[in-house]
Structure formats: structure tokens, C-alpha cells
Symmetry: C2
Subunit: 358 residues, 2 copies
């Protein structure tokens, strides 16, 4: 179902480079399937003007305005902290359902649990697609993902919402372009939207996070040489660190790519609730992730993916050079520049894994 939809994307009041992750990823990776974005503050402008990519996709004020663009579904493109359904969105959802649009949501809140929305959906014969709704039969993790044949690479980060999914998707494209068979394990609502399958590990009952990640890796490994696993959260995030560690120990990666935004100095999000937590230096972050794996297997951070969208070109190149020097690792902004240094690092890891297996 997800693969056929033409989206009108709800980003009401929060459309921007850092505040509308799901919307932005749909625009970056499924541009031919995004008909328009709802953001009253910017209506009449194009997505390109706001994000710096996305071309002429139009921005409109309301669902009603967007219907002229012939969407087949309303995609909820922003994720309020806590994932509940803001009451202010209800009219937009109702208008969309009345117009026959399916609703695609990545909220923690399951739309199907809202009596009004679910009854209206049934009455109008539209589907409510909850990207975050996990399967019901997940196993407890046992660590067996460490035994799969492909090289498993997890993107990890110094913070939430810093580019872990984007780095993984960019690396996937580049590896595919080099003729590699690559599986992608989507672990969040946006990755699932783009890939068409996956499990939102942060929406799983806590005991089953590692088991969910393990199942994703085993599935993505089939017939592939390399598995890229979309990372979540950060080991030093006071709210989400548990998801990060569960995902790490479920995925049991052979190697990791560390994602960071050079201009960010404290943990973001939560309406400023995390400003007391400084982001770790790259070296400290690398040590933490490698140490968290060391009891199970050697797993090294083999490259640094920087998110430099908010820097000028010179500053971006400088930041990349500094990260490489600071860590002694290949570094790149895989969106802005050629991800080749990171791709090479992953292929070196794959060759080394192969040698060990022989």
C-alpha cells in the first residue's frame, strides 16, 4: 500500500530543515510521490525555498487547498515529542478522510485507537496506516545477528535527529551504485515509509527492542553482502538511550558509522529539556559505542558522517577535515558531498569480515 501513495504532507507550523524529519525524508527520497506540503506559514512558496532541496513541490495552507494536487494519502510529516495526536490536527485529518485520503502516520499514538478518527475512516472506506505499529510476535534478542554472513553496519549518533537514517540511505545508494547487494533495515517510522518495510523499534515493548532489531537484521541479510541498519537515538540521550542500546545489541553490527552535526553542542528536542546535556566529543562518542559492543564482539566505528546542512561550503569542508583529523577516520557529509570515503571504509570492513570467515 505504502509504495503506491501520492502524498499530501502535513507539517503544520513546523516545516523546516530540523523540525519536520518525516516530511523532509519523504521529499528527499520519494520526491516523485510528494504532491504538496501543508504549512500555512509558507504557503505559496516551494519546498526548495524552505529546505534547500525538493524543487517545485508546492506548499499550501490547508488540506482543502492541497486536494487540488490530487494526493491519495495524507502523510503526517512531523513528530511531536511524546508522539501524541495534537488536537489542533484533528480538523485536518477529518477533512482528509472526508475527501477519501488514506492517513499515513508515524506517531506513537495509534490513529486506530481514536474513536472519532477510526469511525470516520471506516465510514469513508479509507485506511489508517500506522508506520509505528509493531508486529505482535517479536522474540527476545539472543545476539544471533552477530552470526549473519553479510557485514552489518549500524549508523550511531551523538544525538537524536542528527542524520542517522539519512546517512544510511545515502550509503546504501552509493554501495548499490558500486554493484553491491545491500539490505536496509528500517528501524523508525520514516525509514519504514521510504523502504516499505521495517519495525519502529522505539514503539516496541521495551523487552523486545533487541529482538526486533535482530529480526530485522536476519531478514535484511538474506541474499545480501552488506546490511545497513538505521540507527536510533544516542547512548547519552536521557530519554532514548535505552532504545539505542537495545538496537545496538540486537543488531550486533560488525562496524558503525558515527553521525554528528558540527554546530550542535547540546542534546536537542524536548522543548529545551536536554540543554543541560552537552554532546560528547567525537572521540568520547566513539569510545562509548565501541565499548558498548566490546563484551560481545569487536565492532569499530569506521567512519564519521557529518550533517553540515547549516554551514557554508568552506566551513563544511573544514568541519569534515577536522572530524577526520580528530578521529583518524574517514569522514564525509554523505548528503552534501561524495560519500566515497565512508563507502570505502564499509567495503574494507566487508573484505576484512570475509577474510575472517574463510
Amino acid at each position: 500500500v505504502l509504495g503506491r501513495h501520492q502524498y499530501l504532507v502535513l507539517a503544520d507550523g513546523r516545516f523546516g530543515p530540523e523540525t519536520s524529519k518525516t516530511a523532509n525524508s519523504a521529499i528527499r527520497y520519494l520526491p516523485e510521490r510528494v504532491r504538496g506540503v501543508i504549512e500555512p506559514r509558507s504557503s505559496g512558496r516551494t519546498v526548495q525555498e524552505i529546505l534547500g532541496f525538493g524543487g517545485n513541490i508546492p506548499i499550501v495552507s490547508t488540506v482543502a487547498d492541497g486536494l487540488a494536487l490530487n494526493p491519495t494519502a495524507l502523510l503526517i510529516g512531523i513528530a511531536p515529542t511524546g508522539g501524541q495526536l495534537p488536537e489542533s490536527w484533528r480538523p485536518a485529518l477529518k477533512t482528509a478522510i472526508h475527501a477519501g485520503l488514506d492517513i499515513v502516520s508515524g506517531l506513537h499514538f495509534h490513529l486506530a485507537d481514536d474513536t472519532e478518527i477510526s469511525m470516520l475512516a471506516r465510514a469513508h472506506g479509507v485506511q489508517l496506516l500506522d508506520l509505528r505499529h509493531p508486529p505482535g510476535n517479536l522474540p527476545i534478542g539472543t545476539g544471533k545477528a552477530r552470526l549473519v554472513e553479510p557485514t552489518v553496519v549500524l549508523t550511531v549518533g551523538t544525538d537524536c535527529n542528527i542524520g542517522k537514517m539519512t546517512a544510511a540511505l545515502q550509503l546504501r545508494s552509493a554501495l548499490v551504485a558500486r554493484g553491491r547487494r545491500v539490505g536496509f533495515a528500517a528501524t523508525g517510522q520514516t525509514g519504514i515509509l521510504i523502504e516499505g518495510w521495517g519495525i519502529a523499534v522505539d514503539a516496541v515493548v521495551a523487552d523486545f527492542v533487541a529482538g526486533a532489531a535482530e529480526r530485522l537484521v536476519l531478514q535484511a541479510a538474506e541474499g545480501n553482502e552488506i546490511v545497513l541498519v538505521e540507527g536510533q537515538g544516542s547512548l547519552i540521550h536521557p530519554g532514548y538511550s535505552g532504545v539505542t542500546l537495545g538496537l545496538l545489541h540486537g543488531a550486533m553490527p560488525s562496524a558503525m558509522i558515527l553521525c554528528h552535526q558540527p554546530t550542535r553542542t547540546t542534546v536537542s528536542g524536548g522543548g529545551g529539556a536536554y540543554e543541560w546535556v552537552r554532546l560528547p566529543a567525537l572521540g568520547e562518542a566513539i569510545r562509548r559505542y565501541e565499548d558498548a559492543m566490546a563484551h560481545f564482539r569487536e565492532s569499530r566505528v569506521v567512519g564519521v558522517a557529518l550533517n553540515t546542512y547549516d554551514l557554508g561550503e568552506d566551513q563544511a569542508r573544514e568541519a569534515v577535515a577536522r572530524a577526520a583529523e580528530e578521529t583518524g577516520l574517514p569522514a564525509a557529509d554523505p548528503v552534501r558531498h561524495d560519500p566515497a570515503p565512508l563507502v570505502d571504509a564499509i567495503l574494507r570492513q566487508a573484505r576484512s569480515d570475509e577474510r575472517k570467515a574463510v
Copy 2:
């Protein structure tokens, strides 16, 4: 409701010192409320003969046999890996419901979601009490538990099911005996059974584990000088490490007590699925827990609680002495011996916290 029940405890086929945690804790901490245990392999014997404590509580073969003991509820006293309802238990549950007993369960599986069981319960006017069912309105953790006035002590472990709850409960009693006002934050089904309140953090949606722990600590802090938080899992458990880290970062303890069983060498449970994971040395475990907190606040392991139930008295004393020497910390088996060394360590921490606050 929980506080009034007289339990018949289902431990079918798994009643023993290491295999029936909920049953054993009910017997240890609520002995006056356990009427009998169902375990066909040992029927006719007493609980004391099997566990080494519990006195003359009788063991019977079936629910039907146990009804003569006048229970008011059937307590599911064992937890299969994964927490589903084994089909073989269904007849016992049905017999209990027919006899008018409430059912108290700590399974992940919600009895209320089983059509047959829930309809039967309704027909007979009995309650299905799911200890693991979390509240629906949990926050995302923000780290604010670090700011509460009481000294917060979390029990952490080298493995699951190794004595973290028991150590916390023993320390609570000993601190209360010294006239301290102590709050207890129960984080698992057994702790909740004993305390009458709490949240099973492993049953919470993963994004909310830290938030649940934070809420428990804030609540347990009210009017108290010391908060003891029941730990869960272990940072090196391939299945449950995420719960452990989320709980740690939600609780933001001032200090930790490390729990260990000297005879255990590899991660237990899961039908042997974890035998490839050696338990860390005490020093490595201490380093991991302290390091996981270091980015947020200094939090030290201030004592080691050993579980020596499977050692002779001489060996037990030797193990305690060795743990103290190896770590340079106070050590004790708080069940077998006087927990004074650990109590003193917690009180030293409380005095030090007070000095810092002044």
C-alpha cells in the same frame, strides 16, 4: 486489591530456587498471604523443603487441590521467557476462575486480551490483574530525577534474575529499621506485587522506559530521605540491556549497589541462548555502570550485594570477603547475612549528598 489477596501460587513444573522468581518473592515477602504452591513434582512437601525458606506452606498438585486452602486469588508465580501464556496453563486458570479466584499475572501477555479467559472472568465476576500492564500516559525521560532531594540508589547487576529486587527489599527493611524514611520504586511485576504499586518498565513502550523510571523516582521521593530503585536486567544482556540503560538514565541514581551471584559465569535464561556471553568481572561491571552514568552525573557503585544461596556457609563468607577485596567496596549477602555494610555505604552516600546540597 493486591494488598488483600490470599494467594494460591501457580509454579507448575518450575518451582525451585532459580526458576520461580515471582513465587519465591511472594513467599519471602508476603508469607502470611501465600496459602499454597501448585507444583505436581513436589506435592505433599513444604515450601521450606524446596526453597530453604517459606516454612510449612504446602505444595499441592492442582488448582482443585489448592482450593481447600481457601485462597482468594491465583498468582502466576513463574515467568516463561517472552512472557506468553503457555497453553498448558489454560485448564488451571479456568478452574481457578470457575472457583471464583481473581487471577494475578506478571506475564507480558495481558490476560484481558485472551478472549476465552476474559469472557470466563466476566461471567464469574472475577478480576484479571495484570501486574505488568503499564499506565498509558507516560512521559519521555528528561533526566530530572537527578534533582530530587533524597539519595537515590539503584540496584544493578551482572545478569538478570540475580537478586536486584531482593537486595533492594532487604536494604529497605534494614534502612527502615534504622529509622530512615525510605521510598521503594518497584520496576518489575514481582516488586509491584510486593509493594502494591510501581511500573513494570520492561513492559513499557521502549521510548518511555526512562520516563517511567523518572516518574517512579519522583513519586517515591516524596517525603522520603532515601529512594531504593529496583533494578532490571544487565548492561551486557543481549536481550534486555536496553531496559537496563533506560531505567538507569530515567532513575539517575546518586549511587548504585552491584548485585552478583558468585557461582554464575555466563548470562542465564533463554534456554541456554546466552551461554556464549561470559559474566563480567565485578570490576568490569562497576566500570560499565559508572561510565554509563558519567556523562550526566557522578554515580558510584558503593557496595556489592552477593547472592550466595547455592554456597555453603564457609564458601559464602569467603565469596563475600573476596568480592570486598576485589572491588575495595563493602560487600554482603543481604539475605543470608547482616546487610549492615551495604546500609552503612548508603548512609555515607546520603550524608555526602546532604553536604553537597547545603
